[in-house]
Amino acid sequence: MTSNRKSNNHKEGEKITGAQALIRGLEMENVEVMFGLPGGCILPAYDPLIESSIRHILVRHEQGAGHMAEGYAHVTGRPGVAMVTSGPAATNMVTPLCDAYMDSIPMVAITGQVGTSAIGTDAFQECDTVGITRSITKHNDLVMSAEDLPMAIRQAFHIATTGRPGPVLIDVPKDVLQNTMSWNWPSQDEVEDSLPGYKPNTKGHARMIKEAAHLILRAEKPILYVGGGVLKARAASALRELAEMLQIPVVTTLMARGAFPDNHPLCLGMPGMHGTATAITAMQKSDLLIALGARFDDRVTGRVNSFAPEAKIIHVDIDPAEQGKVRKPDVPIVGDCRLVIEAMIEALRDLLQGGEKQADLTTWRSRVSGWREQFPLAYEPSEPGEALKPQFCLEKLRDAAPEGTILVSGVGQHQMWSSQYWNFNEPYTWVNSGGLGTMGFSIPAAIGAKVGRPDKTVWAIDGDGCFQMTAQELVTASLERIPIKVGILNNSYLGMVRQWQEMFYEERYSEVYLSPDLPDFVKWAEAMGCVGIRVDDPSEVESAIDRANSINDRPVVVDFRVDAREKVFPMVAAGQSNDDVLLPPMQSSRREFLR
């Protein structure tokens, strides 16, 4: 992803410290910004940072540094970098590392470690960082000599950004930072030679691609099932070409929102647990799912053995382990989504020019449009003076958003409504924690996104529960002049959990009530250097949003006090079949149209 790296103007063999080599290495990798917080073991690395071209953003909690790096990577496609000290700081990085691993976010984390002679002695602030993070990183490495630092950095960026992207952690003992080394900067060939077991396959197998093309032309009920891999591969325009060429309807998963424009006539929206009834049903009835960079997550498939029972599967993924992990594909294609889609388009063209005909999709398309008409996203609107509906707030936010606005969400009901009610018409405008579902993701991720794309408006939509997990990073945002906007859909509950307790535990609410008044989000926002706005009534929504959109010199927090009883629909209950989607109450009488 990072192209032309800085040329090496530094003298080979120059004597510098490990710390200087580390920072220089990051500069060589074109790192412009990093997120972190210093402490004992990493201290030496913070000294050369003073002279460095790299902007360092000082966070208030290391988890924030990790999520900021993720948000930055999400919107720029470039690896996010976080640097923290050993022990508690390293363990604070565990959640973002796991989050980045689950969502395949390129990220490089650097942690300090106790001196090499103290390793294994339970020294102050020692923890087995490499051991703890082994299963939640794509790779990690404890660097035991200053000489090895440049190669470790090169490998980390190479591994994080190629193949299926992911987080890589480099653990650096304090004496390794302090020791003198002679500067060296391995070439790309040397890096690849040093990793004989790592050769991601990006070009799909030509015969498989041809076979896929045949299947696609013959399918009468095809669906393009688009996952986050399409965004990672920067394949949105290739995807659009493929969909339009054959007029195949598209669903975009939670990780792929924006990979295909929501306002496109072929777009059916999001599939899965809280997807649109149309997307869910179209997959169920399909005879061919063309899965592109998607991993058949349980939140998408529902009960696996009743998922899309008649569909053949073409599965394109750069990670061979995804193929057959959940559902056995008829045509597996290992490769980069963009390269494979482009080759598929070629293969399809050849077949069509050779006289092969595409099956007639008119019946299928009219069935799909029928569902779309019958089952739009729906909620019961409220009048002025009545309780404020969260979906209404999102619609107003969406309608007032400047072009290209980036939406970042936390985890819970507000996340699902955000994904449902926003119109994602451009790639890289949606940032969320899909695989791990990390409450507290949105504020720091929004800050990272805004740092990566300062030209764009960034709205974080958060729950009142999530906000309280990482809100302190708004202090970081104020001080660093990163003017994000935050909309809290404040229902005074852990809303998503409340919804499950209402629906599946006979309304026995257990430990989900937060408080409508505590904390006072407006005062809290102001205390953190932000503008705070409270909205209680539907009539106040538009003016509050306009005001928030007009403030660009500091962060803004809008506390939308929304109806706590509102639930997210449609819904496929956990472990149920996608055939049994629960519709919003006003549509349930129409169920039989979902055939």
């Binding site: 490499v130 082994r134 193949g163 050769k199 991601p200 990670d319 061979p320 382990a321 193929q323």
Partner: protein
């Protein structure tokens, strides 16, 4: 590790993987933690450096019932330090294992134990007043047979290495090479 009985037989649910890895610190921990984390069972495991200093070979006997072998292999491949994985079926591989056992043997029985050991071409490593320590290397089945016959005297303790294996020379071995490996 699984505690099923007779893990050394060639039951069809067991498969042997010969995994060539870069010889780097922590690589065994990586392999072991992958198996633990994904719920795969290891029956036996043997690790040692290879003819090349930079690489080690891990021979793993896996319980294929715990997950499809294909998924295990693919997940192993994702480890950056895994260079090559060969799936070895017993008919296509030369397998060896070593056993050391302390066997109860009074002066009266000692001759029988020694004779049995000689029949199997094993070795007597140590002789005590009422026990001997024997060793035997060979195919896992041969070791099973030997252990079975020693049992009548009483095995006080025994230790087996887990099998090591290489592909047979005269057959083409199904080898997954680094080609097609990713991420």
């Amino acid at each position: 590790m699984s505690n099923k009985v007779n893990p050394y037989g060639s039951a069809p649910t067991h498969h042997m993987l010969s995994v060539l890895v870069q010889n780097r610190p922590g690589v065994l921990a990586r392999v072991a933690s992958l198996f633990a984390r994904r719920g795969y069972n290891i029956f036996s495991l043997a690790v040692a450096p290879t003819e090349q200093d930079d690489f080690s070979r891990i021979t793993i006997v896996v319980d294929v019932e715990s997950a499809p072998l294909e998924q295990i292999v693919k997940q192993l491949f994702k480890l950056i330090e895994v260079v090559r994985i060969s799936e070895l079926s017993p008919s296509q591989a030369v397998e060896r294992e070593l056993m050391v056992a302390t066997v109860r043997a009074s002066a009266k029985e000692r001759g029988d134990v020694v004779e049995l050991t000689n029949v199997f071409e094993g070795k007597i490593l140590s002789v005590g007043a009422d026990a001997v320590i024997v060793s035997l290397d060979g195919s896992p089945e041969k070791l099973d047979d030997f252990a079975e016959l020693l049992r009548q005297y009483g095995i006080i303790e025994s230790q087996r290495t887990g099998r090591v294996a290489l592909p047979k020379l005269d057959r083409v071995v199904k080898t997954s090479t680094s080609k097609g490996k990713a991420s």
